[in-house]
Symmetry: C2
Subunit: 315 residues, 2 copies
């Protein structure tokens, strides 16, 4: 098996191990599926029947909770108990920073929970990424990579694509891309005029969707960090870029972004990569379908009704 396919499987362990085995149950709030709960998490939630209703089909947040505030408070109380009992390693990373839980990245928030707990409930995350590249007269296509600051909370000191960041409440996708490009790499508004939306990549260790942008830069451009989140930048040829994402020094969850770029720009092709089709597929895990199980009760969307993904339907 090729190194690239192994990598694609590694960053998609959520999809490949959990979903397909039907062990996960949808996490439902107000009739909407907002997450997927692992069996070990379910076992703990069963201890709080006044907050979580676990049945054969799903894990539902008590529908008697009246609003955003009550839902957030009730979940927060359970999470703080689980944290005190040291049940989940994930909660050791408690951040006192809330994440808004929604059905779609552009829909209203149903509740908030500590960012460290979102992985326990399989809450979808959204981010924005920029592939900064040049067309070098001699070396051909080259990509800029950043080395993350050793003080970053996640993946400190690992290599990463040029610019990336999470989507925050109230901020647009393109707006976030611009903001991050300026803060992380000092890309000028003038250069950002060439920023091109290039699709999205879905999957991940946790269910994640990244909005991807390409930015062709002048050959003599050098990114400079402005917010202290980046230790250094390095320009690599296409060949070296493949080596870099395969190395253990690369942030695992960022590999799909660079892989997608290398596929779209003719570096990794069906002629030179035997597992081309599998790899493209692993860059586009059907999260949208997987998270569409529980339409609201008053929905008359027939696609949702008939198009229930089996991973969820039979669980």
């Amino acid at each position: 098996m090729s190194g690239v396919l192994k990598l694609a499987q590694k960053f998609n362990c959520f999809y490949l191990s959990g979903l397909k085995s039907c062990d996960y149950k949808p996490f439902v709030v107000e009739g909407f599926q907002v997450g997927l709960v692992r069996p070990d998490v379910m076992k703990q939630l069963l201890k709080y029947p006044e907050v979580f209703h676990v049945n054969s089909g799903c894990v539902e947040l008590n529908p008697a909770f009246r609003d955003y505030k009550e839902r957030s408070n009730e979940i927060d109380k359970v999470l703080r108990k689980l944290r005190a009992e040291n049940v989940f390693i994930a909660l050791k990373g408690w951040r006192d920073e809330f994440y808004e839980v929604k059905t779609q990245f552009n829909s209203q928030s149903l509740l908030k929970m500590d960012r460290s707990a979102t992985c326990l409930f399989g809450i979808r995350n959204y981010g924005v990424d920029i592939n900064g590249y040049i067309k070098h007269p001699v070396k051909g296509l080259c990509l800029w990579f950043q080395k993350r600051s050793p003080t970053k909370q996640t993946w400190p000191g690992k290599w990463d694509h040029m610019v990336g960041g999470g989507l925050s409440v109230g901020h647009g996708i393109l707006e976030t891309a611009h903001k991050e490009a300026m803060e992380e790499a000092s890309v000028s508004p003038h250069l950002l005029k060439d920023l091109i939306s290039a699709g999205c990549v879905s999957g991940g260790i946790f269910p994640n969707t990244e909005f991807v942008f390409d930015l062709e830069l002048p050959v003599d451009f050098v990114p400079v960090n402005a917010d202290g989140e980046v230790e250094t930048f390095e320009l690599l040829s296409a060949e070296q870029s493949i080596e870099r994402i395969l190395s253990p020094d690369f942030k695992t969850t960022s590999a799909p972004i660079t892989l997608d770029f290398l596929i779209r720009h003719g570096v990794i092709t069906p002629e030179n990569e035997e597992h081309f089709l599998e790899i493209v597929e692993l860059l586009h895990v059907p999260l949208q379908s997987i998270y569409e199980r529980y339409a609201p009760l008053n929905s008359n969307n027939s696609v949702k009704e008939n198009g229930i993904p089996p991973a969820v339907r039979n669980s």
Copy 2:
């Protein structure tokens, strides 16, 4: 719902209606899944128990058949009977042209069957497509489209992307792209040096995977047909291209190729298309996983063992 999402659902009716409802059963030959059989087709195959073994999990070609020749002959006999009985409209298009049935596009053929019958068994098809485009100084990104000849057997007179063709036995992907570009649009070998592999698109009315190439052409280039398969060509702006693929005059199964191009090149973005994520997902239906159910009995590939797609596993 946006017109683009409706279109994406239309060309993926195979995935959205059939697979998700678990009504389809894997078609297994020599321990490999090579297709998916619809319930109405299954009903007919039950009448030939000496050829097809239908059980709760799959439809299996009699494993007692010794080789490629015997398998092909036995299926051919059944198909000719079904054709004489007028059971399936699809067989009215009998072509006396064989299609090689394989597990992977680059693996050995297990049997051959008439091309008109492949849709009954959900046999995967593979093709090659070229998005020919220019960067116009005034109009910006423009795409070349072909109007298919009125004498073509499939989709006569419909609009289509610049160049496309099926993968034939013994011919490579890039080789086929070059051949079709020269025959259909008289693209010179000199210009073909700029041909860039850009990924693949999977899905379709029938299970189909297309290898996609982009070709930036000189602004003054005009394609000229050389093989009689094309009536005319037209250059459209990005805006006009969206209108064209949404029109009933466009070949439905080619829409995903142009959609994918427009997404990768920043024309359709998450900012201007509300259903962006659903659409990208529908361009990359996980056929590879869906068709991986039946690994050969002596396989020790743990990904296949653990990673059985539920659509198939529970059927």
